[in-house]
């Protein structure tokens, strides 16, 4: 499913303006430990986390993730937002917690069409 459809279905905020959201999402990974994400997330995954500091962008780029969803209405640090735009990595947000948004994303990605 394309990222832009997920953004619409899950009503996600977009912190990075003007980035292409027509990218294929292969799945999701929920974790706040960077080494865990580096080790276990897969290319094209959407990463669900509460970490808002700029290092999340480096992790996202290194793993070729489709984007990052910040949970609990957390706002990215300005440097994080700027870096994400520079690196072309969509940074999204939700008021939901990690459990709820992971469940919704899972349901969306596994629904029968």
């Amino acid at each position: 499913m394309l990222l832009q459809e997920i953004v619409r279905h899950l009503n996600l905020n977009i912190f990075t303006a003007n980035l292409n959201l027509e990218v294929e999402v292969t799945g999701g990974y929920t974790s706040d430990l960077l080494s865990d994400v580096i080790a276990n997330a897969q290319e094209g995954n959407l990463w669900i986390t509460l970490q808002v500091h700029p290092n999340v962008v480096a992790v996202g780029k290194l793993k070729d993730l489709a984007g990052i969803i910040l949970v609990n209405n957390r706002q990215p640090e300005e440097e994080t937002r700027r870096k994400a735009e520079e690196e072309n990595l969509p940074l999204l947000g939700t008021k939901e917690n990690a459990f709820i948004i992971s469940g919704k994303l899972y349901a969306l990605l596994t629904q029968k069409t």
Binding site: D32, L33, L34, S35, D36, I38, A39, E43, T49, Q51, H53, P54, N55, V57, A58, V59, K61, L62, K63, D64, E79, E87
Partner: protein, 154 residues
């Protein structure tokens, strides 16, 4: 760079990057650059992915536990070689540090999501040859080799 990438691949490439300890804001910059270089060299994406993981963890170790470090990247047609030397606190018990889950990260680092105790194990898993030496109070040296045409494929 004036040289073309295929020449570099043929003759080997050496590039050095300095890493500043404690600079969490720029952490990941060196490994991101290295990944781009490896991609541009046309190396197999699976190998690039493994190399990127090893490079990131090696870089983060310097950022977290050293004052400064020097990351040397060498690429030949056969292998990717990372040589990372830092000036820092060193590791008193390498065997313990190699255990997954063991970490000496501070509470502040853990709050940022570092200190999962997976850094060195991640390097080992994603490299073909991994050597680590350390002297307490002086620093740590990581010697990492990933073969391009053979070895583990994940």
């Amino acid at each position: 760079m004036a040289k073309n990438r295929s020449d570099e691949r043929e003759n080997g490439l050496i590039q050095q990057f300095s890493i500043t300890g404690g600079d969490f804001y720029h952490a990941g910059h060196v490994s991101t650059q290295i990944k781009e270089i490896l991609k541009e060299l046309g190396i197999d994406p699976n190998i690039v992915r493994r190399a990127a993981i090893a490079a990131y963890e090696a870089e983060m170790n310097v950022v977290m536990y050293a004052q400064k470090g020097l990351f040397t990247l060498e690429v030949t047609p056969q292998k990717i070689h990372f040589f990372v030397e830092d000036e820092g606190q060193g590791i008193p018990d390498i065997e313990l540090a190699m255990q997954e889950g063991y970490s000496t990260a501070t509470p502040e680092m853990r709050e940022m999501g570092f200190g999962a105790g997976m850094g060195l194990p991640n390097i080992k898993k994603n490299s073909d040859i991994f050597k680590i030496t350390s002297e307490v109070g002086k620093g740590t040296v990581l010697d990492i080799i990933i073969f391009i045409n053979q070895g583990k494929n994940q």
